[in-house]
Each structure stands twice: as structure tokens, then as C-alpha cells.
């Protein structure tokens, strides 16, 4: 597709549509190539159905988190705290289960808690650092003074702290937008620390996890026989988010903000509100990923999912998203996550050592993005 050189060219429509279809298919073709490569090299072992199922399973955690990260990256942001969010999520669910809550309540509580710290991240990105600090420090004050001052005194102290910092924020700080890179880099450390603090640096082993333990195992009946529930969760989430991005006003605004934030604001889009929602949703997805990770580990582990943030970003970017915003798709992200799993799995099957895998994965990321940019340049 060449750029419409004659103004008002009417045939731009058809060419552009086919170009767009090719753009959509790009990552898919990559997926197919990688799969065929390993299938040719390893045959039976790699192409067996149970291996396909295993690979989908291996994709579930990163894929689920990456679906949320896709929204963030399309809007021109980034989330470096995904791995820490997952670790904190496993701790929260494990502690809730240990406290005797039902699996469903524990799961919902974890996702809600993730959405809560996601909204804190979003609030800092759009400039409410002071408010977040006021609330966090207020809560800590209540926690610290609880024993000494009793419920009433602790609450009063907490409200006092919130009022002082809040007032400073409203009068002196006002709105102070920060780059998502910085905010989530900070949260990458802070959330990991919180996860360690919750378990006193130790993993938490709940006795009864119920069905939360079985998210990544196939059952004997129903659709669970084909694929484990965790994979269905990922597919359902992907379908839902894909629909949200495509068919809702919110979804259009995510793209608009990433493409040109000033224009979006000029056109009356509530940029700040939308961003807050984006980070809430993204971190809630990380919360869901934490449930899957918990199911895999059967425990809450504060050191788990180390480095997942980069895997998640790699999946989104391999899927055709641009780190400068405005581009990306859920389908692409899923394909990107699958490509990374296939490379891991295939290399293992071929008996390659870990270090080879790591080099190959690194190469794939750069190659995929280079190919994507090249395709883009030709399209223009």
C-alpha cells in the first residue's frame, strides 16, 4: 500500500483495508513460522496435542497480565510493576484463604485489591501523587497507632495525617503528572516490598485452596477436559478486552489518547479519567494472573514472577503494539505471548540449554519489532 499520492484518491479504501488485514495477520504469520520451525525440527514430541495444551498453559499467566498491559501500552503508557503485582496478588489470595475465606471470595478480593493499587498507580500517573501519599500514610498511621491509641484514637490520627498531607497537596502541589515509567518503576519496588512484608519474607501456604488450586489442571468432565480453566479464563478475558477496545467508547478513547493526547483532550475526552480506568483494569488483569500463578504454585510467594514485567511488555510489543502509543491489539498480544512460549518450549524440547533459550528469545523480540517497523514503513 503506497501513500495516497493523488489527493482524494478513492481507491485508497480497498488498498488500505487489505493492508490493514495484512497488518493484523503479521504476528499470526510469525507465530505460524515459529511453530512450523520447531515442528520441523522436533516433529512428534512438539506437535503432540498434550504439548499444545502445555504451551497454552505456560502462556496463561503472562498472557492474562499482558491483556491488561496492552491497554496501558496502547494509551502510550507502560507498566513495569506487573511482576510485583502478581507476587503481591499471590500473597493476598493466600492470606485471604488462610484467614478462612471461601475460594471465590478470596479470588474476588484479590482482583479488587489489585484494582485498588492499580488505581493508585493511575492516580499518580495523572498527577495525584499527593492524594495517594495522603491516603497511604493515613492508613499506615491507623495501623501503627492502633495498639497504642485504640480504634478511636488511631482513626483520628489517620484522618489528621490525611488532612495535613491532603491540604498540602491541594494548596501547594496541586496536580503533578508523572511519567508512567517512573511511577511503575517505583511501584515495581514498593509492591514487591509489600508482598514480602505481608508474609514476613516467607511464602504463605493456605491449607484449603479449593478450586483455586485446579485452575491450571485439566478436569475429567466438561470443557475442562479440553483445556484447563485458566486457559479458558485467558481466552474469555482476551475476548472481552478485545471487544471493549473495539466496540466501546472507552476503547476508542484509549487509542485516541495514545495516538495524540492533546487532540483527545481538545475533543472533550476525559483523558485523566480514562487513564485512571486503564491502569485499574490493567492491574486487575495482573490480579487475575496472580490467581493463576497461585494455582500453579499452591502458595503465596513474594519472590515469584520476577522479571515478568519484561515478558509482558515483550508479548505486547511482539504483537504489534507501539511503545509510543496508538497501536496494538489483544489478538496480537496473545500471539506475542504464544510466540515466546513456543520458543521456550521448543528450545527445551530440542535439548538446548537455558542460556541458548534466553539468547533466542532476545533475538526474537528485536526481530519481531524490526519486522513490524519495516512493514509500517512500507505501508507509508
Amino acid at each position: 500500500m503506497t501513500r495516497a499520492s493523488t489527493p482524494f484518491a478513492t481507491n485508497a479504501g480497498l488498498g488500505a483495508r487489505s493492508a490493514r488485514i495484512v497488518a493484523r495477520l503479521g504476528p499470526m504469520v510469525g507465530l505460524l513460522c515459529v511453530w512450523l520451525l520447531f515442528a520441523a525440527l522436533k516433529r512428534g514430541d512438539f506437535v503432540a496435542w498434550h504439548n499444545q495444551r502445555l504451551m497454552l498453559l505456560q502462556t496463561a499467566v503472562v498472557g492474562t497480565a499482558a491483556v491488561g498491559a496492552t491497554l496501558v501500552i496502547i494509551s502510550g503508557g507502560i507498566d513495569l510493576s506487573v511482576g510485583s503485582s502478581i507476587a503481591l496478588g499471590t500473597m493476598v489470595v493466600a492470606l485471604l484463604l488462610k484467614a478462612g475465606h471461601a475460594p471465590l471470595a478470596a479470588a474476588l478480593g484479590t482482583v479488587a485489591a489489585a484494582a485498588l493499587w492499580g488505581s493508585a498507580i493511575g492516580a499518580m500517573v495523572i498527577g495525584h501523587v499527593g492524594r495517594v501519599a495522603a491516603i497511604v500514610l493515613g492508613m499506615l498511621t491507623v495501623h501503627w497507632t492502633w495498639k497504642a491509641a485504640g480504634p478511636l484514637g488511631a482513626t483520628a490520627a489517620g484522618i489528621g495525617v490525611v488532612a495535613v498531607i491532603g491540604a498540602f497537596n491541594e494548596f501547594a502541589l496541586k496536580r503533578l503528572p508523572l511519567s508512567p515509567f517512573i511511577v511503575t518503576l517505583g511501584m515495581w519496588g514498593a509492591l514487591r516490598g509489600a508482598a514480602k512484608g505481608l508474609g514476613d519474607n516467607q511464602p504463605v501456604y493456605p491449607e484449603h485452596a479449593g478450586w483455586l488450586n485446579d485452575l491450571l489442571t485439566t478436569s475429567t468432565s466438561g470443557i475442562g477436559r479440553i483445556l484447563p480453566p485458566g486457559v479458558w479464563l485467558l481466552l474469555g478475558l482476551a475476548l472481552l478486552m478485545g471487544g471493549v477496545l473495539r466496540y466501546t467508547k472507552f476503547g476508542r478513547h484509549v487509542f485516541a489518547i495514545g495516538s495524540n493526547e492533546q487532540t483527545a483532550r481538545l475533543c472533550g475526552i476525559h483523558v485523566e479519567r480514562t487513564k485512571l480506568l486503564i491502569y485499574m483494569i490493567a492491574v486487575a488483569c495482573a490480579g487475575l494472573a496472580a490467581l493463576l500463578q497461585f494455582s500453579f504454585l499452591s502458595m503465596g510467594d513474594p519472590t515469584t514472577a520476577d522479571g515478568y514485567e519484561l515478558k509482558v511488555i515483550a508479548a505486547v510489543v511482539i504483537g504489534g503494539a507501539s511503545l509510543s502509543g496508538g497501536e496494538g491489539s489483544i489478538l496480537g498480544t496473545i500471539v506475542g505471548a504464544l510466540i515466546m512460549t513456543i520458543v521456550d518450549n521448543g528450545c527445551t524440547k530440542l535439548g538446548m540449554q537455558n542460556w541458548v533459550q534466553e539468547i533466542v528469545t532476545g533475538g526474537i523480540i528485536v526481530t519481531a519489532v524490526a519486522l513490524d517497523r519495516w512493514r509500517h514503513r512500507r505501508a507509508e
Binding site: 489527493p7 495524540n260 475533543c267 475526552i269
Partner: protein, 560 residues
């Protein structure tokens, strides 16, 4: 006028004033635009047009004055506010989301929805309606806007304004990046919008366009509205006179210069978009000015020469070096550029005076530089210009605009360049610094010897006879003499320098330059001695009223 003008003007701006610090940008300006009218806003660069329009759009708040839309008081606090009230701006740089489709852009912020879901069919219909209203139902709805041509993108932006139900449309230099045919299409569309009852403000420097499309005009000069009236019957020559009518009260030094051999030669140089074609010869010991309006391609020209922008075709010859080269090579060849954007490109604001000054030529041993050595190297320049600062290690950020600019200039002197490309060297600086910079430029054209014995001789064109002690430039052995390769280790200039200077301030160009060439829509006219030029003539050429060869008055005579 086809639409019937209602008794109430669509837009009224009364006694609008705005000052920025000490400078008065707008002084009690009145503007009245009627329904179904195209109102041209005319003025030189810096006359206050964009400030006035930013107030209209809601980007600036006026210090005084009132606005009405259809008789209702109108006081936008933000551009989004202004849009909601029905004021849409079509800027030179379009504001679209390039990744979104045509439909997505048109509907941005006004998507029809049912609950949280988009109503795809209703949206399509509304977008198609908007495109039909701007007369181009053939534009594909699903193509990302980034893939369209500029003309098509502009249409999308207009369609978006129409879809949001705007009442006042402001076009700011809408034709500067359009081809001829597209301009005619745009004019057709503007006439159509006019008939539909929109009020249109049209800003352009190209006066023929203004004459073709507008019903009435207002001329702004130095922040004041100097004249309003119907376009029909107004003579272009008179409008230009209204635009430039001001007194020259600054004195520019011009010593008796003796231009030497040609050191920079451009032949039909063309960039990727701008310039379209530029040829010139710059000699040692002369100041050549480039006049023209913003967007004519003047900056792109010097940037292409300096290697900051790609050259599409044409030749660049600098002394005996031919062909395009990267900026690092240009520094080595003895060419330096002072950027028009001091804050973002010209200087590293957080670094010290010394670091900025010595950046192109750290003068270290084996690539090692010492901060103290840099500061020692910078000190003579600080004294000589003089740059007002506490010490050479002071961050440039903390200096005044004038002193910052002197740092940018001193960088070229420190690198001991022969060709100085100066892009708006006195923009936004105080009069005192301006005078110092003028003195400096004048001194450079004389070289060391001339500097002490500079004799003022105004408006005299003298070309020195070829000197016996200077070998001809085209002889192979002359490289060392022509280029300053053996760099003097003193800080004083030895040979006269060549200066290429861009300025939007005509008195400055007329006062400082030996010759001036005018750029219009990417094409550089012939350089003519200042004695043959005046502000009026340059303005006629810069606005395209008068072709370069045509006699004065022929273009303005047949108007009306």
C-alpha cells in the same frame, strides 16, 4: 455574499488586550465576523494574529476585553471549552490522532453510544454525513488518518469540526502545505461552508488568496487592529503598506565591507518538502539576508545546508567541499548554525556556559576534556561579547535570553567557523543584546584587521578586486587558504567571515545585510543589494503579490 447577514454578528471581540510580561501582544483589538462571511486576518509575523486566535479558541485568557458569540457572552477557559461553544480551529499542524480511522477521528469525543457500547451504524452514518457536508463523501471511513495526504487530513479535520456543530471556523494558514489544485478545492469547500451559515476567519500571508476567498479583512500591526473593511475594492499595495507601516528607529552598524571569494554556493537546492529550490552565492566578508514569512522554508534551507535535514537534489558547495554532509562534518569544514529554537535545539540549557560554548570543539588532548580547561577556553569569549554571567560554570538556563543567544553565537566563534548560518539570531531578546549582536556580526565580516578600523559607510556595495595574496578558490592548492584548517589558537578572527542571516524583522535585515533574497513558498528569489530594496518591496515579494521579476505596482494595480 450569499447567506444573508443577520443583524447580530456571529462573533464579536471588543477591546481585547493581552500582554506577556513587558510586551504588549494585543492592544485593545476589535474583531467582528458575521454569519456567512469569510473574514481575513492579515498581519506580519508577530503582529498578534495567533495571540488573538488563541484567545478566541480559549488557549489564552485576555487581560481585558469581551467576546460574544451570536450575542451571547463567550468566555472559554480551555480549547475544549471553546470547541463546545462552537469555535473550531484548523491549524497549520493538524490535530488528528494518526492511528485512528477517518471515522474515529471525526467522531472523537462525540461517539454515538448505547450504554457503554458504540453504535457502529449510527456512527458511520454521522461520519459519512460530515464528509458529505464537506463535499467529499468518497473519503474512505476506515483508513487510518496517518495514511492520508495532507489535503485529505485537512478535510477530515474540517469534517470533524462540522460534525461537532461549530459556528465559527478559524483557518490558520491552511494552504501553506497544499498543492495548487488542493488550494482550489479548499476554497470551494470554504465557500460551501459559508453558504451553510458558518462564520469563517481566514489567516494567511498569501494576499492573493486572501483577495480570492475573503469578504472582509482586518489588518493587525504591532498588536493593534489598524484597518477593517470589505476586501472588494481594497488594493493589495495598500494592505501591504498597512502591514509594514512602522518607523525604523534602530541603528544598525555597517562597516565598509569588502566581499571576497565565494565560500558557500547553493545550486537548485531542494529538501524533502522545503525548500523547493534555492540558489545563492555567499562571499567572505558579507552578510546575506533571507527574508520571507514563517513557513516559507527559510529555516529548512539553512538546516539542509548544515546537514540537519535531508537534501533531495541540488548542489551545496562550501569552499572546496561539495555535497551534503552531516553537522559534525560541517563543523569541521568551518560552518556553524545558530538555531531559531534556542531553548530546545540551540542550547543545552542545563549545561554550563563553558560546556555549551565549547561543545562543537572541546579542544582536548586525545578526546579528553577538563572542565577547567573548558572554562578557561570560554572566558575570553565571555569577556569579549560580553556574556553577562557569574562564571563560566553557570548553567545557561539561568541567563537572560540575550545572553543565552550570545552563548549560542560564541560557540561559532570558538569553533572558528567561516560560514555563520544564523536563524533568527535576535528573536525574543532585549534591545541592548540585539545591538551587541549586530556589532559582533558586523565585526566578523571585517576580520581582525578591519575590526579596529571599521569605518561606517551605509548602503554602499563594494566588491573588492581579487587580491594577489589570496589564491583563487578553484585551484587545488588553495584549500588551506580558503578553509581555515590551520586554526588559529588565539580567539581572534583573522579572515573575514561570511554570514547568512534569516530574520522575520525586516528593518534588521535591511540594516544589517549587504544583499537580501526573499523566499516565498519554498523558492528563493535572487539576492539583491539592499540599496534596491525596501520593506514594502520585500513584503510584496514575500506575500507573493509581486513576482520577483515583475515591476512594482503591476500586481497591485489590477486588484480591486
Amino acid at each position: 455574499m450569499i447567506a444573508e447577514p443577520s443583524s447580530l454578528p456571529r462573533l464579536q471581540m471588543k477591546r481585547v488586550s493581552k500582554r506577556f510580561g513587558a510586551t504588549v501582544a494585543l492592544d485593545s483589538v476589535d474583531l467582528e465576523v458575521r454569519t456567512g462571511e469569510v473574514h481575513a486576518l492579515i498581519g506580519e509575523n508577530g503582529a498578534g494574529k495567533s495571540t488573538l486566535m488563541k484567545i478566541l479558541a480559549g488557549a489564552y485568557q485576555p487581560d481585558a476585553g469581551q467576546l460574544w458569540l451570536d450575542g451571547q457572552p463567550y468566555r472559554p477557559r480551555s480549547p475544549a471549552d471553546g470547541r463546545r461553544a462552537g469555535v473550531a480551529m484548523i491549524y497549520q499542524e493538524l490535530s488528528l490522532a494518526p492511528h485512528l480511522s477517518v471515522m474515529g477521528n471525526i467522531l472523537l469525543g462525540v461517539e454515538p453510544t448505547r450504554g457503554p457500547l458504540l453504535r457502529a451504524r449510527a456512527g458511520r452514518r454521522r461520519a459519512a454525513d460530515a464528509l458529505r457536508q464537506v463535499g467529499h463523501p468518497d473519503l474512505p471511513l476506515d483508513v487510518p488518518v496517518g495514511r492520508l495526504s495532507t489535503a485529505e487530513q485537512q478535510l477530515v479535520e474540517i469534517a470533524r469540526s462540522v460534525a461537532t456543530g461549530c459556528r465559527v471556523l478559524v483557518f490558520d494558514e491552511p494552504t501553506s502545505s497544499l498543492a495548487r489544485d488542493d488550494i482550489q478545492r479548499l476554497f470551494g469547500l470554504i465557500r460551501r461552508l459559508k453558504v451553510d451559515g458558518h462564520a469563517i476567519v481566514y489567516i494567511s500571508h498569501a494576499l492573493e488568496e486572501v483577495q480570492e476567498i475573503s469578504d472582509r479583512f482586518t489588518v493587525l500591526r504591532d498588536g493593534r487592529a489598524v484597518r477593517s473593511g470589505p476586501t472588494a475594492g481594497a488594493k493589495l499595495g495598500d494592505i501591504v503598506a498597512l502591514m509594514v507601516g512602522r518607523t525604523v528607529d534602530e541603528l544598525y552598524p555597517r562597516s565598509c565591507r569588502a566581499p571576497g571569494e565565494v565560500i558557500l554556493e547553493l545550486n537548485e537546492l531542494a529538501g524533502v518538502r522545503l525548500p523547493a529550490s534555492a540558489s545563492l552565492e555567499l562571499r567572505r566578508g558579507e552578510v546575506l539576508g533571507i527574508a520571507g514569512l514563517i513557513g516559507a522554508g527559510r529555516s529548512e534551507l539553512v538546516r539542509a545546508v548544515f546537514g540537519l535535514e535531508r537534501v533531495r537534489r541540488g548542489q551545496i558547495k562550501i569552499a572546496h567541499y561539495a555535497g551534503p554532509a552531516a553537522p559534525s562534518r560541517r563543523w569541521a569544514q568551518g560552518v556553524g548554525l545558530v538555531s531559531e529554537d534556542r531553548a530546545r535545539e540551540g542550547l543545552a540549557l542545563n549545561l554550563s556556559v563553558a560546556e555549551n560554548l565549547t561543545m562543537p570543539r572541546p579542544r582536548g588532548w586525545l578526546g579528553l576534556t577538563w572542565p577547567t580547561a573548558q572554562q578557561r577556553a570560554a572566558r575570553p569569549w565571555i569577556e569579549r561579547l560580553p556574556i553577562r554571567c557569574l562564571s563560566a560554570s553557570q548553567p545557561v538556563r539561568t541567563l537572560s535570553g540575550g545572553n543565552q543567544q550570545k552563548v549560542a553565537l560564541a560557540r561559532l566563534l570558538h569553533a572558528d567557523v567561516d560560514v555563520l548560518l544564523l536563524d533568527e539570531p535576535t528573536r525574543g531578546i532585549d534591545v541592548g543584546s540585539k545591538a551587541q549582536i549586530y556589532q559582533l556580526i558586523d565585526g566578523l565580516t571585517l576580520g581582525e584587521a578591519g575590526q579596529s578600523a571599521g569605518v561606517a559607510c551605509f548602503h554602499a556595495q563594494r566588491v573588492s578586486p581579487p587580491r594577489a595574496d589570496r589564491p583563487a578558490a578553484d585551484m587545488p592548492g588553495s584549500a588551506m587558504a580558503t578553509r581555515l584548517k590551520p586554526r588559529s589558537h588565539g580567539t581572534h578572527a583573522t579572515l573575514p567571515k561570511a554570514v547568512l542571516m534569516i530574520s522575520s524583522y525586516l528593518p534588521e535585515l535591511l540594516g544589517m545585510c549587504d544583499r537580501i533574497a526573499v523566499m516565498y513558498r519554498g523558492r528563493l528569489g535572487p539576492a539583491r543589494p539592499v540599496s534596491q530594496l525596501d520593506e514594502h518591496r520585500i513584503m510584496l515579494e514575500a506575500t507573493g503579490v509581486q513576482s520577483r521579476s515583475g515591476a512594482l505596482g503591476s500586481a497591485s494595480g489590477d486588484t480591486g
